[in-house]
Every structure is written in structure tokens, then in C-alpha cells.
Amino acid sequence: MQKIQSDRTCVEKFKPDFHHAEYKTSVEVIGKHLSGILLIKYMPDSSTRIVFTNETGFSFFDFAFYGDTGFSVYHIVSQMNKPALIKTLRKDFELIMFRNMDRSKSYNLADSGYIYHAYPQIKGVNYYITDDQCRQLVKMQRSSNKKPIMEASIYKSSPGNPPDSIYIRHLNFNFSISLKKITPFAAQ
């Protein structure tokens, strides 16, 4: 890959609008399967909340993302309350929500007809990978200083609407999250 001079902000147009979205969620982690509903909601105080429940209504976790880099755990069941897991989920969600994108530190790389829009993090780099004209977001990637550790794709994302589906896959261990949008309905 080589550094290139190109528009460093063009990738921002692909930022999904999660103002209010519910996803049927399927998690595979080291041979175990977990399913539920993930709610992503923009709050009036401009924070974003991500809540994961099971289908029968039980809450697994409630995360808040605020400001440029702020993050809080409002609730998490003790079985999931592991710092490494919380950190991983936080970074995964930050990547798909296009957070921590400091333009002043960003740079672009070119490889095999793709542009890697790079945003350095405290540790590692987040990449948003587009075609060479920046017309399409091909995938997103979290990378350590040595190698890619996670890839994510969003499908059917249009301005003003949350993506229809999202797929997150870790490359260094068996952990994937699949999200499919559901259409919530009002009280009967």
C-alpha cells in the first residue's frame, strides 16, 4: 500500500444515520450463539445509546457514546461484564458509527484499486475502504499496528436511513455479529 493524496473527507458521506433503528441480532462467539434485538438511538442530549436485549425483553447491555470520544456503560449483565469484551464491542460500534475520525490525523492509502481512508486511533488504525473514486464504501476495517483484526460491512445504507444490515467479523478470534433491521411497530 502506498500513501496517496486524495480527498480525505469524502468517506464521511457514507456515515450511517442511526437516529432510531432496531436490529435482529445474531452473535457467534467461540462456538457459542446468542441472539436478540439491538436498539440504536440518538438521544436529545446528542449521545447515542446502544441497547441489546434478548427477544423476550431481558436487557444484556446499555452503552452510551457521547461527545467526540466519550463512552459509558449504563448497564451490563454480570456474565458479560468483562473489560476485554466491553472494549471490543465499544471499538466495533465506534467503527460502524464513524466515530473517532480525527481529520487532522487522517491519511489515504491506495491498494489494488481501493482507497484506504485511514484514521489513527490510540492503538491501531480504523480504515474505511472505498473504490478509487470514493463512490462506494466497500468495507470497514480495524487494524492493529501489525495486521487487520476486524472487518465490518454495511448494506443498503441511504442518507437519512439506517443501514438494512450490518456484518462484523473478527479476524483474530471466532467472533461475529450480524444485524438485520426490523421495522418496529406501535402499541396494538
Partner: protein
């Protein structure tokens, strides 16, 4: 003075006893209810109904709704099928639990002690009336004009970490559950309401088949 204090105390007591569940009063002697409930439960061979689920996320001022169909047949057969806005199927049959979440099918033994599986199990026990016999819960019974409310507080440590209490609202006419209310420690709650109940209809075995 003592009379005034006594009067004020009585007033507070009354407010307190009704504040938690408006319209309900605590039954100090719930044995009569438990006997009637056991008798009615024994006489109810089967229940089929629709249900609606309302999950309240208190801190987000958010409600999430779902609906589905429900079947129960004595003594240990139960099927809950979420239809909208997502598919999710739970079948309990002779101590085995089967779950199909639309992506994957899972069979769970009744002896399994995993917490996420217990959560589903609690729901099933509430509907079938088994919770009243469950030593893992402390129960209180409240009475209103049309319904009883059974409040279940978890005693077992692994359950008390999950739920503050679980309430079952029971119709006074037929002693079947009209609603199950699950209160989490986080302040969130889930209410499942049963509608269009049909009692003692013939439900084929295939409804409860675990593939």
C-alpha cells in the same frame, strides 16, 4: 396526640400498601387464593392465545413492542411464537426447551443452569403457574376488583442479580394469567399481555413437537 399519630401512621400505611400496585391490596392470607388457583390450573387442560410484549427502556424513554401466539397444554407443554416484528420460537416439552431464533435452532436440557436459558425458563414457568411452587421465589398476593397480582421476588442469587421482581396478573374469572410483568434491576421492565384466550381447546401434539 397518640391518636393523631396513630391516625397519620394508618394513613401512611394505607398509602404505602396501595402505592406499589394501584387498585390492589395485599392479601394477608393467600392460602384460599393458592387453593383456588391450584384447582383452576388443574382444570385448565389447555390455553391458546395471542400475546403482545412491551419492553420499556426507562432511561431511553423507549418502548419496544412485539406480538405472537401462545399455546399451553397440561402439564408441561408450552409454545411461544413471536411473529412481529421478528420471529422467535420457544417450545417446552417434557422438560426440554427448544429455541429457534430465525438463525439457529437450540435444544436445552431442563437441568441446564445457564442464566440466559433460565430467563426463558422463568417466562414459561410463569405462564404455566409453576412459579408459585418454586422455592427460588418469595411470593406475595395482591387483590383487586378483577384480578389477583402475584408478586415474585427472586431468592436465588443468580436470579436476584437479574430481576427485582416478576409479577403475574391473574384473571379472577378463570384464574389464568392475563399479564406477566418482569422488572429488571436496571429499572427496565417487560410486560407480556395475553389476549383472546381460548381455554381447553384441542391442541394437536405437533404444535409442541421438538424437531
Amino acid at each position: 396526640m397518640i391518636r393523631i399519630i396513630a391516625l397519620v401512621s394508618l394513613l401512611f400505611f394505607r398509602i404505602d400498601s396501595n402505592a406499589q400496585y394501584p387498585g390492589y391490596t395485599l392479601l394477608n392470607h393467600s392460602e384460599t387464593f393458592k387453593k383456588s388457583f391450584a384447582r383452576a390450573t388443574a382444570a385448565t387442560e389447555s390455553i391458546q392465545s395471542n400475546f403482545s410484549q412491551e419492553k420499556t427502556l426507562t432511561m431511553l424513554s423507549e418502548k419496544m413492542y412485539s406480538t405472537g401466539k401462545f399455546w399451553y397444554r397440561q402439564k408441561d407443554k408450552l409454545r411461544m411464537e413471536y411473529i412481529q416484528p421478528y420471529f422467535y420460537l420457544m417450545i417446552l416439552n417434557a422438560g426440554k426447551i427448544f429455541i429457534n431464533d430465525g438463525q439457529k435452532e437450540n435444544k436445552i436440557s431442563a437441568n441446564s443452569n445457564k442464566v440466559f436459558q433460565q430467563v426463558n425458563r422463568i417466562l414459561i414457568d410463569c405462564v404455566s403457574g409453576k412459579m408459585l411452587e418454586n422455592p427460588d421465589f418469595e411470593s406475595r398476593v395482591f387483590d383487586s376488583q378483577n384480578a389477583f397480582l402475584v408478586e415474585l421476588k427472586p431468592l436465588a442469587k443468580n436470579l436476584s442479580k437479574l430481576y427485582k421482581n416478576i409479577n403475574i396478573v391473574i384473571d379472577k374469572n378463570d384464574y389464568t394469567a392475563t399479564a406477566i410483568e418482569m422488572f429488571e434491576l436496571s429499572g427496565d421492565r417487560t410486560i407480556i399481555r395475553f389476549q383472546n384466550k381460548e381455554l381447553n381447546a384441542l391442541i394437536p401434539d405437533s404444535i409442541f413437537n421438538i424437531p
